[in-house]
Symmetry: C2
Subunit: 293 residues, 2 copies
Amino acid sequence: MMNQKMHNLTEEMNTLLANSIPNSNLGTDLEESMSYSLNAGGKRIRPVLLLLTLEMLEGDKSKGLATATALEMIHTYSLIHDDLPAMDDDDYRRGKLTNHKVYGEWKAILAGDALLTKAFDLIANDQSLNSDIKVRLLQRLSFASGHLGMVGGQTLDMQSESQQVNLTTLEQIHHAKTGALLKFAVMAAVDIAQPNENIASLLETYSEHLGLMFQIKDDLLDIYGDEQKLGKAVGSDINNDKSTYVSLLGIEGAEEKLAQHKTEAYECLKQLSSEYDTQYLDAIVKLFSERES
Amino acid sequence: MMNQKMHNLTEEMNTLLANSIPNSNLGTDLEESMSYSLNAGGKRIRPVLLLLTLEMLEGDKSKGLATATALEMIHTYSLIHDDLPAMDDDDYRRGKLTNHKVYGEWKAILAGDALLTKAFDLIANDQSLNSDIKVRLLQRLSFASGHLGMVGGQTLDMQSESQQVNLTTLEQIHHAKTGALLKFAVMAAVDIAQPNENIASLLETYSEHLGLMFQIKDDLLDIYGDEQKLGKAVGSDINNDKSTYVSLLGIEGAEEKLAQHKTEAYECLKQLSSEYDTQYLDAIVKLFSERES
């Protein structure tokens, strides 16, 4: 049932993303390049998490669609820029050529810039939300994706390459780099549905545990993942001498930490379950801890 | 008097920009890199134009400061990305090393991304404006700076390098690449002060003529400008075989076109002068047509 649900939401997001970039009629392939990366697949986990949280909160799904699309645009722009030669220099992502390999480096930079800008545009122009909610979402998104969030985390991550960092720094990196957008997914639904403060606070804690689970699992998959399922080579962290949860805690220690966050995420949901149907958010915890790709 | 006014506003903007990036405490120099480019000087013409328009409309100056700062951040991020090796590959700007020459290419990409994001953050968090006005400004800024505006124009400009384009395409490029942010400067003041539709429409036309004047003058200065005053080499358009107003119309033809837009910009202001004191916006037209750098 969760699988069907996830599948339907992913398909819905794919359709929205495929139609999200109107042509400028300037006669360039900038829009094609933006759409190439938006349409390159992926699990759409951030927008799906937003929509599942909104559903749990009994919010109107149509009010979450533009923000979910914007969120995936931010994620996509970050991948385009991360893949650039000056950053991670990746030629492939999910088995497809990266943006700059198809459209060239300068256009990939501009396509990323334009997707980032378009994300704010989508929320600011969302007809289904009032101005107060839009402003709240835009505040939250600019915080989560900027120098205090995702971009800051990516900078610290790049700076920490090929050097040992301690667990505190590792958590700082991931809290900002991947955690901030996952938290945004959950808290955007809170902004839209506006439950009481106690509910909001439980969901915030839930989202933080999810973010850490996501990263620990990533590090574990780099050790024992299936290259076919992952769509990328394993062992790259070791080869790059990168500090990970596994290098700092060992496989068992990382598994233990994953289990700990899983327990705490479930604990949040248990408290929410007296008021809401938490089945899908429960399933997300299971997915995050058991995913193979 | 205009000089003093411009000087004061420029200084005020410099101070605001110098204090606009709080540290993330992530222990990287990302914020330093963002501030380096924000503090690298320049005429601050866009924020100054915004504040002068707001003053003419008898709007509250304090309501324009955050948006003016955001606008200069967008302009600054675009310069950082334009200077990158994959784009224009410039080592110097205004006599200072470009961002990537000081901080490296990957950090320059991220600093640009973070400044773009911060611009939206500043407006969304502006305490002096209500949510409706903020949303209107954010709609306008995301449009002006995205794929339908500045980034689209930059793409078309890059794509047109080393090839002849006609006057229609040249105007399309500049309308989007430089015109969109200049129009934003004027129309943001309209959003904040909310004059009637007739006034708004006159100011929009005024801003469009300003945008074209700006570019025509740029092309002329590349022919007869003073390298010392410009802070860059002249003749680069010719050397790069770039289509400009001068290459398409000749010097005289370009001067004529400049004069024409000047007349039309003054005409808009003449109509506004029955209701408002247009002295500063008149002076802007003079500045745009006579500037030496």
